[in-house]
């Protein structure tokens, strides 16, 4: 199934480790992604999915291992150079100001502009095309805060399109979206034909839209392979602590996971895992 993928590695990390106050959040993770590939990172809350992403796009810097972007270590690249190659669509906070859709999409130009550069005609064409691609042309002057969750995600995707990166990273793009929008966002991201890393909770969506799934638990990679090979009932039970059944989806022919919560013993205290957040005070 990888026949449409060329063999060039866009991003590569070896024995990636990230520690906070002597707690290991990411533990010797090997990761690489080939040009054109779509990779989902899955795992329970606190597994380190978001931290792993942040290490991969250089937000978390002082890990001792090296992340290579197109063969060059992230550590020697400026944040501007990284931003020219990697676009991030993350779970965002709402701004107190009324930014318009266009204000935000235009931000995608920032990594490509110097102090004295103004917007050119080509930039305007790029912005127009991005707005059309995510079907928000009519809403370009609406306030971001007044849009639905799915529309907000699409605005951020349009910004990423304008950024024209080699790699798109999305942190839980389907969070808080209804079923239609979940599919819409993922189909849209796939349609961009861009190298894509995303974190996601829904394993069935991951199986439908991704070439590869990385199963993460307690900062370690338990499996990294095609959906058919990663989504095994025994492995999933070990990670998610729920009985499950895996069969083949009749429409998409991809693995389909059904979890069963009826055996759940709520008397037993639930193991507490808190995701590390560097910005929390």
């Amino acid at each position: 199934m990888f026949n449409h993928v060329s063999k060039e590695k866009v991003l590569q990390a070896k024995a990636l480790t990230w520690q906070v106050d002597n707690t290991t959040i990411i533990d010797h993770v090997d990761f690489s992604i080939l040009a054109g590939e779509t990779v989902a990172i899955v795992g329970p809350n606190g597994a380190g999915k978001t931290s792993l992403l942040k290490c991969l796009y250089g937000e978390y810097k002082d890990h001792h291992s090296t992340v290579l972007l197109n063969g060059q270590p992230l550590s020697i690249l400026s944040s501007k150079q990284i931003a020219q190659k990697i676009a991030v669509v993350s779970q965002h906070a709402e701004s107190v100001f009324n930014l318009t859709v266009l204000d935000i999409v235009r931000m995608g130009l920032i990594p490509h502009k110097g102090l004295f550069d103004v917007d050119t005609k080509a930039d305007h064409i790029k912005i127009s095309q991005a707005l059309n691609k995510v079907d928000l042309w009519e809403k370009q002057r609406q306030y971001f805060n007044t849009l639905s969750g799915g529309e907000q995600q699409r605005v951020l995707i349009a910004r990423a399109i304008v950024q024209s990166p080699d790699l798109l990273i999305m942190d839980e793009p389907t969070n808080h979206l209804d079923i239609y929008y979940q599919h819409q966002i993922l189909a849209l991201a796939k349609q961009l034909k861009i190298t894509l890393i995303l974190t996601i909770h829904d394993l069935n969506l991951a199986a439908q839209y991704c070439d590869r799934i990385v199963l993460l638990n307690k900062g370690k990679v338990l499996a990294d392979d095609s959906p058919e090979k990663v989504l095994k009932a025994s492995l999933l039970k070990q990670v998610f602590k729920l009985d499950c059944h895996v069969d083949i989806h009749p429409f998409t022919q991809t693995p389909r996971v059904t979890f069963d919560g009826s055996q759940l013993n709520l008397e037993k205290p639930i193991e507490k895992e808190v995701e590390y957040n560097a910005n929390a005070s």
């Binding site: 937000e59 944040s79 910005n279």
Partner: protein
Amino acid sequence: MLMLHKFSIRSIILLLALLVIVTLSLSLGFGVAELGHREVWQCLTATCEKSIYNTILWQIRLPRVLLGFIAGFGLAIAGALMQNVTRNPLADPYLFGIVAGAGLGATLTNFLPPSLQFFTLPLAAFLGALFAVFIVLMVLIKNNWRRTEHLLLAGVAVSFLFSSVTSFILYMGDAFSTNRVIFWLMGSLARADQTALMWIFPVVFIATIVALLLSRQLDSLLLSDESARTLGVSVEKLRIGTLVICAALTAVIVAYCGGIGFVGLMIPHIVRPFVGLTTARILLGAGLVGGCFLVWVDVVARTALDGQEIPIGVITSAMGSVFFLLLMRKM
């Protein structure tokens, strides 16, 4: 066609240019001396009726109008920049503790021996203001900028600290010098002369140019710090640099004009619905409107009472605080 905002940049510039021209020319005709609009017009187009008019117009009225415009421009863009980089619509350059710091500096000049007379009131006020800003910034750097609201809280704390020291010194001091400082703190453009313009204009001009060059980066802060970082922007450096620019702007204006509060808070809110909130537009909009605003407030300050000036800071604070309360009610 892409339209960035409801109003095109061209129509905004045209409208604002008109406002500035009307403000600058009309405001020259107001004042205590019998030099009305007709006489001013005559002076500008031909020769003055009396030679005294020439002196009043070019040495008193014009510097004062220009100072009002430039000070209003500077205070308004400092407010707009601070609100954008802290993402806090209630941010105001005065909340840095700048006025309190300047007040303390001004107070201390009363105790200088004659040998240190080069420490004029404006210079001492400027240094006091910078000292207050320095303390606020040190506190914030130490706590790693965890929350931008801390900027406002630290500013308020420093304000109270400096004000209490100033009050104590003034309480113990003699009445004459106390009056001098208190009147200065109330704000006035009466100090308008070439020296004031020579100091304030370059600072406002350079700050505007630097902010315009950085406008794209500054815009990225409007959504969230994290989003700005993923666009390759060095968030901390940019924010602290901008705050230092705002502090310098405000400090130099306060040093010559005293405490003129709330211009930086109020004006950006008034222009935002018309020009949008991206940096380049709000800088031009807030700056030009702020300049005109302060010129007209000064006209009121000069002419409202017979034979006496109202301190300009009293008027802006009265207007500003009512505006502030209305703003809070809507938020």
